[in-house]
Symmetry: C3
Subunit: 162 residues, 3 copies
Amino acid sequence: MTSDDLAEIHRIHQLKYRYLRYLDLKEWDELGGCFVAEATASYASAPELDGREAIIGFLRDAMSSTTLLTSHKVHHPEITLLESERASGIWALDDRVLVLDAGIEIAGAAFYQDEYVRTSDGWLISHTGYRRVFEEVRPLPQDSRITLSWWSEGGMGDQSHK
Amino acid sequence: MTSDDLAEIHRIHQLKYRYLRYLDLKEWDELGGCFVAEATASYASAPELDGREAIIGFLRDAMSSTTLLTSHKVHHPEITLLESERASGIWALDDRVLVLDAGIEIAGAAFYQDEYVRTSDGWLISHTGYRRVFEEVRPLPQDSRITLSWWSEGGMGDQSHK
Amino acid sequence: MTSDDLAEIHRIHQLKYRYLRYLDLKEWDELGGCFVAEATASYASAPELDGREAIIGFLRDAMSSTTLLTSHKVHHPEITLLESERASGIWALDDRVLVLDAGIEIAGAAFYQDEYVRTSDGWLISHTGYRRVFEEVRPLPQDSRITLSWWSEGGMGDQSHK
């Protein structure tokens, strides 16, 4: 474990953190920049996705609505540097999704198993996917209220659930 | 990205982690030691705070009660080392606040945008603030119970919500 | 803070992350491999545990059922390297436990205070324990549903709470 290895691991962490920031802020073009063109993804029970276009298209369709509010947080990175400018990584995910239209919330835990490749643009994701420890769906309480959100410009857009 | 850079980033992480430990444990004087005197803060919809005294006074007033229990957890640090012993940082926040007196809980996600400065006492916060991805308020379920807390000395102080 | 220090801290992080992965995935033998034989543990209000066998036995008894689903996530590591191949660490814990049989969920925040020792097998845990910031128990909502879990092979085992 050299100083160079630590720097590479740090760069892979930065890639993952950027990816998750773009995901929760619904910045789809920037999110696309985290993947190589031929990347693949397998998100729990979702269909297998082949290619950056398919991945971003899937996420954009599923999550663009600002009535769907998400928090995806990853923890416990276990990164392994491999030969040929490649690396793999395990991350623990906790996620929480508020689906305001449907009046439900989804919360769960999972483990990501990722693959990364170092390109002339730095480290990028070549494969990502996770398998659930558990996923739970429950109704939002009737008097739950969203009091602030990124998209409502500073909380002026208070929207009661019901 | 040198070994020295990694060490500086590590030190900034340590500052943030200490800050959050003091916050959730309501150790206000120690929390003050994380800021330069002229620090500023902008916490979501709270008023702009100018100076360490104002920041700590605000937090102390808002959060000293042990009927208000908090978990502030930060993730995904993206630290940028700047010139002149300065740095900036983006962090993803998940927070959860139980307001036992009012019978509500507040949970949300946000992104911090911080500024740091290296002083003779090490790295300190010169600006901190966050903007909400979302913030939700809901009633505590009627039969929610706090079974242990830091301030009740080992859980002897079981206090039902209602 | 040398590059070697950063590498040692990195290795201690990896130990803790592996420990938590084994815990949430109920891999008890592998979990045992994270401790020295004479390790001790003090988990909040649980009895003091003396020796690796006692620790793993306790966790196995308490958490083997796949109707008990857990997410233990640690944050904010503050690791101190000590003399004689020893180290200590503070970590912030958020945990969430779904007890499907009993129809309750337990969620809380805590601070771990760990001790580590470097052995011929790398860094291992010589003591672990945490004290609660808060712990809350509440009933699972009647129409909460587990829609996926690690042990139900890809979500085929949808099990409604009631």
